[in-house]
């Protein structure tokens, strides 16, 4: 900690700027997640991601046994323009900086 990179973070969007061309993890509402390389973004957090993996998790309850059934759906996309909307964009984790 206290590295040069972190001292360059003066406002939250700097964190996004430092993540350009890195793989990031975006958590969306409704149990959707995206992992991809950040190619571009703007001040609204519209983003262009490349080499994208989308993970959609849904939990259903079996009518008879009341067991929880977890379904995971994976989609792969070469490029994705993620448009910010209040419904979707949630939280972004900077994948490359994950510490154990």
């Amino acid at each position: 900690m206290g590295s040069e990179e972190e001292s360059a973070v003066k406002e939250p969007l700097d964190l996004i700027r430092l993540s350009l061309d890195e793989r990031i993890y975006v958590k969306l509402r409704h149990d959707r997640e995206l992992r991809g390389k950040l190619h571009a973004y703007d001040q609204h957090l519209n983003m262009i991601l490349g080499d994208v993996e989308e993970i959609v998790t849904s939990v259903e309850i079996d009518d008879e046994t009341y067991e929880e059934i977890v379904r995971v759906c994976l989609n792969f996309m070469d490029f994705l323009l993620l448009l910010f909307s209040f419904k979707f964009l949630f939280i972004i984790f900077i994948h490359e900086h994950i510490r154990e």
Partner: protein, 91 residues
Amino acid sequence: MSGTGEKVSATTKTPADFLKSIRGRPVVVKLNSGVDYRGILACLDGYMNIAMEQTEEYVNGQLKNKYGDAFIRGNNVLYISTTKRTLGEGA
């Protein structure tokens, strides 16, 4: 509901002063969805966009995930609170 809020720190006068004073402190950020994020507040801006370090995700009070740096878009934020709990025991 007794008292008139006199215990508020003398240095904190407005919400903006509070936000300035908590940089670098351990905080709990609660989102509209009810999920809590605990970590060190790196910085925030006028939209309540938040950059956090050593982020931990709590769903219904249970630790679900640990992340490094996290960016939270301000529209999701319900509140930010400081925490006495020491962070990073596992680090």
